[in-house]
C-alpha cells in the first residue's frame, strides 16, 4: 500500500483534534519538536514523525508503539512549534485512546505507574510515595528496584508510612463515578 495524505483516517484525526483542542493537520514537518525533545532518543518514532504518521492514517502503529508513553509532558514541543500545534496535548489524546483500548502498546511499566497513581487518588485522595513504589515493584515483578534508596529516605523522614484522613473522599469518588457515567451515556469522550 502506498501511504500518502489520501490515506489519512479523517475520523481518527478529528477525534484526536477534539480531545487535544489542537490541529494535527497544520503540522508542516519542520522537526523543531523532535529537535528539542529530551525523550526523542528513547522513542521509535520521534514527535514529528508521530504527527506525520497520524496525517498518513498510520495511527495503529503509534498506539502500538512506545513513543507516546515515553513522552515526558515537558511541553517543550508545544512551546516551540511555529505553527502553534500543541503537540503535548496530541500526545495526551493519543495516550488516552491507547489507554481506553486497553493498551495495544508494548510499554507496560509507564501504564502501570499511571494506573496505580490514579487508583491512589481514588482510594486515598493523595499520593503516598512509599505505597506507590512498593505496589509498583510487586506488580511489575521488580522486587529489588530502588531498594537501596528506602532506608535513607526513611531515616530522613521522607517516606510517610500512613495516610491521613481526608474529608473530601466521598467527593472524589463522586467525581470518578460521574465521569464514568457521562462516558457511558456518550456525553464525554
Amino acid at each position: 500500500m502506498i501511504i500518502s495524505q489520501s490515506t489519512m483516517d479523517v475520523d481518527f484525526v478529528r477525534k484526536v483534534e477534539a480531545l487535544s483542542g489542537t490541529s494535527v493537520r497544520r503540522c508542516f514537518q519542520c522537526g523543531k519538536c523532535s529537535a528539542g525533545c529530551p525523550m526523542a532518543t528513547f522513542m521509535e518514532h520521534p514527535p514529528n514523525r508521530v504527527v506525520r504518521l497520524l496525517q498518513l492514517g498510520q495511527w495503529q502503529r503509534i498506539l502500538a508503539g512506545r513513543s507516546i508513553w515515553y513522552c515526558a509532558s515537558c511541553e517543550t514541543c508545544s512551546t516551540r512549534c511555529p505553527n502553534k500545534v500543541h503537540l503535548a496535548s496530541i500526545m495526551d489524546a493519543l495516550r488516552k485512546l491507547s489507554w481506553d483500548a486497553e493498551g495495544p502498546s508494548k510499554e507496560s511499566y509507564v501504564q502501570l505507574a499511571n494506573k496505580l497513581f490514579l487508583q491512589n487518588i481514588r482510594t486515598y485522595g493523595r499520593q503516598y510515595e512509599m505505597r506507590l513504589a512498593a505496589v509498583f515493584n510487586v506488580k511489575s515483578g521488580q522486587f529489588l528496584k530502588d531498594l537501596m534508596l528506602g532506608p535513607k529516605l526513611i531515616s530522613k523522614g521522607k517516606l510517610k508510612m500512613f495516610h491521613s484522613k481526608n474529608k473530601n473522599m466521598p467527593e472524589i469518588e463522586k467525581i470518578f463515578t460521574r465521569i464514568e457515567e457521562m462516558r457511558k451515556k456518550g456525553e464525554a469522550l
Binding site: S73, T79, L118, E129, L149, I172
Partner: protein, 293 residues
C-alpha cells in the same frame, strides 16, 4: 507599606511526604517575611502528569474541585510544586477557552465553575507580590560567595499561553530572587532541560540519563549547588544523585536546595527550621565553608 500579604496554600502531595523540608521551609520563610499562609482544608491530589496523560477530563475535574476548595480560604492560591502549579493554571486556561470541556467539568464536580481565582507559584510571590526590594530588606545574612545553578525544569514556565510566570525560553525570575538575597548565579546550559520526573517510578534509567546531563552541566559551569522550585526535580537531582555518580563514575557532590531554603538562610532562619538535615546530599560542608551557618 502595603497591607499584609495573605495566601491560601496548596502544598501538593510531595510536600506532605518526600519533600517535607520544602513545606517546612516555605512555612517558616513566610512567617519570617510576615506573609500569611493558610492551607486549603482537605485538598487532594491534582492528578499531576499521570491524570492528564490518560484522562484529561479527570485531570481538569480534580483541579477544578481543588480550585473550588481553595475559595474557602481568603487570598490568592500559593502553590509550591511546579507540577501542581502547571496543572491548576492549565485547568483555568483550558476551561476558559472551551465551553464543551467547561460544561463537562461542571457536571463532573456538580458545581458551577469559578475560574477567576489567582494561582501563584511561591517564586512569583517572593519576586513580585512581596517584591525584590522588600525581600532584599529582609536579608540578615547575604549568601555572599555562594554560586548557585538555578534549575527551572519544564513546567514552571512552559508552554507559551500558560502559566505565564516568566519568559518561556530565557526566564530570570529565580536568578532575580537569588541576587536579591546576595548569592551569585551561574550561566549554564541545562537549566530548562527536563529531568524526566514522570518516569522516576516506571523508568528510572531514563531519569538517571537525563538528570546526569543536568548535574554535569551545573558542575561544569562552576556551581557550588543547585536550586529548584519543584519537589519532583528535587527528588531526581538530590535523592538519585549518589546513584547517578555510581552509574557514570563521577563525583558531583552538588547539594540541591529548595528556593525557600536558600532565601530562608539569607533571612536568618536556622538549619532546623529550613529542614536542611533532610537533604540527601549533605549541604553542611559547603555552607560552613562559605560561613553561612
Amino acid at each position: 507599606m502595603k497591607d499584609k500579604l495573605n495566601y491560601s496554600y496548596y502544598p501538593g502531595c510531595s510536600l506532605h511526604a518526600s519533600a517535607g523540608e520544602y513545606d517546612l521551609s516555605t512555612r517558616e520563610l513566610f512567617k519570617r517575611l510576615s506573609i500569611g499562609l493558610t492551607e486549603v482544608p482537605d485538598w487532594f491530589c491534582c492528578g499531576a502528569t499521570p491524570a492528564h496523560n490518560v484522562d484529561e477530563l479527570l485531570s481538569l475535574s480534580l483541579c477544578a474541585k481543588n480550585l473550588e476548595l481553595a475559595e474557602q480560604v481568603e487570598g490568592d492560591l500559593a502553590v509550591a510544586c511546579a507540577a501542581c502549579f502547571s496543572r491548576l493554571k492549565t485547568t483555568q486556561h483550558v476551561l476558559a477557552e472551551s465551553d464543551v470541556k467547561r460544561k463537562q467539568v461542571e457536571k463532573a464536580i456538580d458545581a458551577p465553575l469559578k475560574l477567576d481565582g489567582k494561582v501563584k507559584h511561591l517564586l512569583e510571590i517572593l519576586a513580585r507580590d512581596l517584591g525584590l526590594e522588600r525581600l532584599a530588606a529582609s536579608v540578615t545574612k547575604p549568601l555572599a560567595g555562594l554560586k548557585v545553578a538555578c534549575y527551572y525544569g519544564c513546567l514552571l514556565t512552559r508552554p507559551n499561553d500558560v502559566p505565564n510566570l516568566d519568559c518561556v525560553e530565557a526566564p530570570t525570575i529565580m536568578e532575580d530572587v537569588l541576587k536579591a538575597v546576595g548569592a551569585e548565579t551561574v550561566a549554564w546550559s541545562h537549566r530548562m532541560e527536563c529531568c524526566g520526573a514522570n518516569f522516576t517510578l516506571s523508568r528510572p534509567g531514563v531519569v538517571i540519563q537525563l538528570t546526569n546531563a543536568i548535574l554535569e552541566s551545573a558542575k561544569e559551569a562552576g556551581a557550588d549547588c543547585v536550586m529548584v522550585a519543584c519537589p519532583l526535580c528535587h527528588g531526581n537531582l538530590d535523592i538519585r544523585q549518589k546513584e547517578i555518580e555510581g552509574v557514570y563514575n563521577v563525583n558531583y557532590g552538588l547539594p540541591v536546595f529548595y528556593i525557600t531554603q536558600l532565601v530562608g538562610l539569607a533571612c536568618g532562619l536556622s538549619s532546623d527550621k529550613l529542614g536542611l538535615g533532610a537533604l540527601i546530599v549533605n549541604p553542611m560542608p559547603l555552607l560552613k565553608e562559605k560561613q553561612l551557618l
